[in-house]
Subunit: 246 residues, 2 copies
């Protein structure tokens, strides 16, 4: 850190802390150097270091743990389980700029399982759509969806359209964009796993990183299934919450 | 496999398959040898192998994936997110015999965070209770709970009592056992991580295995907090589900 005589020392130190965090030098959840070490690093007084840490704590950058030290706050995206929030809203709430890339789209004969889930005849063609959601420039979530053919074509068209506009969306947002059908109910299971090669490559996380796998089946009001989806969320960036009466 | 002349060959083969799965030689989700390989392994006809695989599939041991092969079913415990199921019910539904061990209990002055969550004065003593839940002989979930002192003492007493009877329970079941207070609401967050040393040791899983971390705060009807709990569930054994209207 180069000291700047026009700003109070502690403010410069807060900027330095923010930079370390933003650049990943101090990753989320990691312990930062002790007050004494920071005094020595910058040749400043303990009072200045304490003032900077307090300020960074108020800004939500750091968290002091009683008797353990000071840690970089692990700010995960906190997604509700009971009500749906769109991908755009979820990212915006965390102050991230949402965008989505269409990774792949193709038609394939359905296998027995997919046909059964989507209430189709085994072998009937289905439409696969793969999306990658970003918060700022960071890949956050992968969506692998399978639709009945006609719906899938419309969804992919809407996806390419929104992608062209630089919008952030998941497949759920595409129903409104197409205005074709509106899902009424969703069944979801939440599982955990460690990232395989494909996930590592797309979510830009380390091999062996923990991920959420959320499998969803969407249904229309009459009970007809419209989508079978597997979504992969970065475990270091996502948490899900629920509040309920017992 | 030693062939036994008193049982049909395919039945013996099903027993062999079950044994491979039970003993973990074929882990959940893994691909089993091809029909041809199994014919050669046991010197039996393709018809016999097919009959055995069909039988094992009907029993829910195996799952055939179109064009990919046959896999060991990954039967996870499927826990509802919307309503509460007791630990005992959850294990029993999967045909597992539930039991619980009290790992640890101690009194400690609260740190600022715990005191704030439990609505106590910083430093006021709190009661820690650690439980380990088993399905059959397999460790399934770890519960680290913190209670206000008086409640904690009662909960620990109930826990030791139920443990002595060989019962399966989580901290939630202890409220009824004590008959002291009854939680009315719970706030929960679901996170994923990989197992650290303590978790590895107690859940008997490999270092780096994915786990669910479920943080809960339980409240009484008036809004008073009664328990702060971190629960760790084996990622290879648990999944959570929710069905909801959109």
């Amino acid at each position: 850190m180069e000291l700047n005589e026009f700003q109070p020392l502690y403010k410069q130190l807060v900027l330095f802390i923010r930079k370390q965090i933003d650049e990943g030098v101090w990753p989320p959840g990691s312990q930062i150097p002790s007050e004494r070490e920071m005094c020595e690093m910058f040749n400043v007084s303990r009072v200045t270091v304490r003032q900077a840490i307090s300020e960074a704590e108020k800004d939500g950058l750091l968290e002091r743990m009683h008797g353990k030290g000071t840690f970089v706050t692990n700010l995960k995206i906190n997604q509700a389980l009971q009500q749906i929030t769109t991908f755009k809203e979820t990212m915006s709430m965390r102050g991230l700029n949402p965008s989505t890339r269409v990774l792949d789209e193709y038609i394939e004969p359905s296998d027995l399982k997919t046909a059964s889930v989507l209430n189709l005849t085994d072998g009937e063609p289905v439409f696969h759509l793969k999306l990658l959601g970003f918060g700022d420039e960071l890949p956050m979530s992968l969506y692998f969806s399978t639709f009945p053919l006609d719906l899938g074509k419309k969804m992919a068209e809407a996806a390419r359209n929104l992608e062209g506009k630089g919008e952030g969306f998941s497949t759920y947002d595409l129903y409104e964009a197409t205005g074709y059908v509106k899902p009424y109910m969703v069944k979801q299971t939440f599982e955990v796993d460690v990232a395989d090669e494909y996930i590592v490559e797309h979510l830009k996380i380390k091999q062996g990183s923990p991920i959420f796998i959320v499998t969803s089946i969407f249904y229309l009001e009459g009970g007809h299934p419209t989508e079978f989806r597997k979504a992969y969320y970065r475990g270091d960036k996502y948490k899900f919450y629920i509040n309920r009466l017992l």
